[in-house]
């Protein structure tokens, strides 16, 4: 058997060209302005998009940089939600402390798991993260004395007041987390650690031989990824107001985050943000028109992205141009390439 074709499609990192910089500035301005423009319903949609964007950014730390397909990364979202939720509900800790604890707890959980799991690669790692997610779910269920198990935890409100105040607060909290994720990725990318991670993504054995402390780098990356996901989970718990094991460790949500990261393509920072908003708006439309089949809509989207847009949304203009060109040029001929 030859080496598995796991990471044959490595893409160069896009540099911070003026075009990208302008996009970034426009994006920031638009994101900050949204609460003044949108109705409460659409603000809620936008907030969901930010949740997914932040999760996709956190996934990109381990997957985008180090190339580790952590499909079960939602486990850290759940751990963060539970640590902060229990800290708030049982110990009465204030929200900022609880959320911080959620992030730290998730990062520590990743460090513990890294011992056992970061020696696995590709498919093996992917399946192990899925197992970790469900193992953790079962733990939460079984340790009901501590976690309240399947009963779930009601989280005290983070802010009170009229709905608009509440929504604005959460919108900006999640926007802050997206910003944190973006900064982490940008700083990492320019650091020694980030270069090491990219080397690992390229060829881990070679990187190791060149003196990259692969295990340590991967563990740090995973802890950072988990910490961010944990903070998102913790904040999300306050937003929804109630957590239970099933909805905190939801594999479908993990798949959605995966898809958003793929939509982002090689644009590790802007990609997930645009991807998440595209996904959420498409979701609202899909939900309205295909209520019973909305999961199939997600499925079709996943199939299409993998089959026709493996490079994500940034590839879309090229693809469309390609199709148009093919229509004009090689019309009638079989233009099917492998």
């Amino acid at each position: 058997m030859t080496t598995p074709p796991e990471r044959s499609t490595r893409r160069p990192w896009p540099v911070l060209t003026p075009a990208v910089l302008i996009m970034l500035v426009v994006l920031v301005v638009v994101l900050i302005a949204l609460p003044w423009v949108l109705s409460n319903f659409w603000l809620r949609v936008a907030t969901s998009a930010l949740v997914f964007a932040a999760l996709a950014l956190s996934l990109n730390v381990i997957m985008g940089l180090a190339g580790y397909p952590a499909l079960g990364n939602i486990v850290f979202f759940g751990v963060g939600a539970y640590v902060s939720g229990l800290a708030a509900a049982n110990l009465g800790l204030p929200a900022p402390v609880a959320i911080l604890l959620g992030a730290v707890g998730a990062a520590i959980y990743a460090l513990i798991a890294s011992r056992a799991m970061l020696s696995l690669r590709g498919s093996y790692f992917l399946m192990a993260t899925v197992a970790l997610n469900f193992l953790t779910l079962e733990l939460i269920v079984v340790l009901r004395g501590l976690t309240r198990g399947a009963r779930g935890v009601t989280i005290p409100p983070l802010v009170t007041g009229d709905p608009s105040t509440v929504y604005d607060t959460f919108y900006f909290l999640f926007l802050g987390l997206v910003a944190v994720g973006a900064v982490v990725l940008i700083v990492l990318r320019r650091s020694r650690l980030g270069l090491g991670l990219l080397a690992i993504k390229g060829n881990e054995d070679a990187a190791s031989m060149l003196g990259v402390p692969t295990f340590r780098y991967k563990a740090i990356a995973w802890a950072l990824s988990a910490g961010l996901a944990g903070a998102v989970g913790a904040t999300h718990a306050y937003w929804i107001g109630f957590i239970d094991p099933g909805s905190s460790f939801d594999l479908i949500m993990s798949l959605e985050v995966f898809l958003i990261a793929l939509l982002g393509g090689p644009l590790l920072v802007i990609g997930p943000i645009i991807g998440a908003f595209t996904f959420e708006v498409a979701g609202v439309i899909a939900w309205a028109s295909f209520t019973e089949a909305h999961l199939a809509v997600l499925g079709v989207l996943m199939v299409i992205v993998v089959t026709y847009l493996p490079g994500g949304l940034p590839e879309l203009p090229t693809r469309i141009r390609g199709i148009v060109a093919r229509r004009r040029g090689t019309h009638g001929r079989s233009a099917r390439a492998a």
Binding site: M1, T2, P4, P5, E6, R7, S8, T9, M63, G67, P69, L71, R115, A116, M117, S119, L120, G122, S123, Y124, L126, M127, A128, V130, A131, L132, F134, L135, E138, L139, V142, L251, L255, F258, L259, L262, E292, A293, L295, A296, L298, G299, V300, L301, M302, V303, V305, V306, T307, P310, A338
Partner: protein
């Protein structure tokens, strides 16, 4: 104790039948197929429908399901997976999960969300051996699961198709140079895998009420089985299935039933992290 061992082994046979196809697909195509659970559920629903419409015994439905499953697997491989097979696992898992969601929705729209069951007239028949009860249905399920596994092994080792599949899994480029239609060979492999999955669905329908969304839990069991067995080997899959069945039953009996499922995931992760190649070492069909 003897009862728990009997249960564990009998249920383990079924778990193995869930995992075998997944293991074969990965061994040959290097794709983890998340749509595998949906094949099992489709088989289960078809068996239930045949039972409801014609009173056909699910065991007799298995051969029909093998054919249907083969067609499904071959089609999915040729239409969807072929194009992206060489890409990273991120891509293939997203693709197959996408197909799974489409399949689940299809099941929901065709069969509805109501629970469906099969109750065969011999459901309460069984034998008492050494203080343990062996239900006839369970014994039948176990026997069919083992026959499916051995049949698959025979096809892979003794037939022209099997030789071709093993050749492409060993070295795709060389096989192509020899003029082997690799796309067809991969399709055959996925077809065989899906055939077993669909057949196993009939067995599942004999013991579990059917719901459109049950595929994920079945898929997780299949994951656990193949992680224990190491990808791409059949005999170890059978043993791994039984180990999981025993783990579940003995944990239920001695630790407490509430820890049954946790025990499965603990075994899964422990083996994955300590013995990444599975309990039996890395063995592929080509060897």
């Amino acid at each position: 104790m003897s009862q728990a061992i009997v249960n564990g082994i009998l249920t383990g046979g079924l778990y193995a039948a869930f995992g075998i196809g997944l293991s074969l697909i990965y061994g040959v195509t290097r794709v983890i197929s998340a749509v595998h659970g949906a094949f099992i559920v489709i088989g289960a629903y078809l068996a239930q429908s045949a039972w409801m419409a014609f009173g056909l015994d699910p065991f007799l439905m298995v051969p029909v399901l093998l054919v249907i499953g083969f067609g499904l697997g071959y089609g999915v491989q040729r239409l969807f997976i072929d194009k992206v097979m060489r890409r990273r696992v991120v891509m293939t898992i997203t693709l197959t999960f996408g197909l799974d969601l489409i399949a689940v929705t299809g099941i929901l729209l065709v069969f509805g969300a109501d629970l469906r069951t099969i109750s065969v007239p011999y459901a309460s028949v069984g034998f008492d051996v050494l203080g343990a009860r062996i239900p006839l249905v369970r014994l039948g399920i176990f026997a069919v699961a083992v026959i499916l596994a051995l049949g698959l092994e025979l096809i892979l080792r003794r037939t022209q198709i099997g030789t071709t599949i093993r050749a492409v899994s060993q070295n795709r480029t060389a096989a192509e140079l020899l003029g082997i239609d690799t796309g067809h060979a991969f399709g055959m492999a996925h077809g065989l895998a899906a055939a077993v999955a669909c057949g196993a669905g009939a067995l599942l329908a004999l013991i579990q009420p059917l719901q459109p969304f049950m595929g994920l839990s079945v898929l997780l069991i299949a994951f656990a089985v193949v992680v224990l067995a190491g990808f791409g080997s059949i005999a170890p899959v059978l043993i791994s299935g039984m180990i999981l069945g025993l783990t579940e039953n003995l944990a239920g009996l001695y630790i407490g039933t509430e820890y049954q499922r946790l025990a499965i995931f603990v075994a899964y992760l422990a083996v994955a992290s300590i013995l990444p190649a599975g309990l039996f070492g890395r063995r592929f069909y080509a060897h």
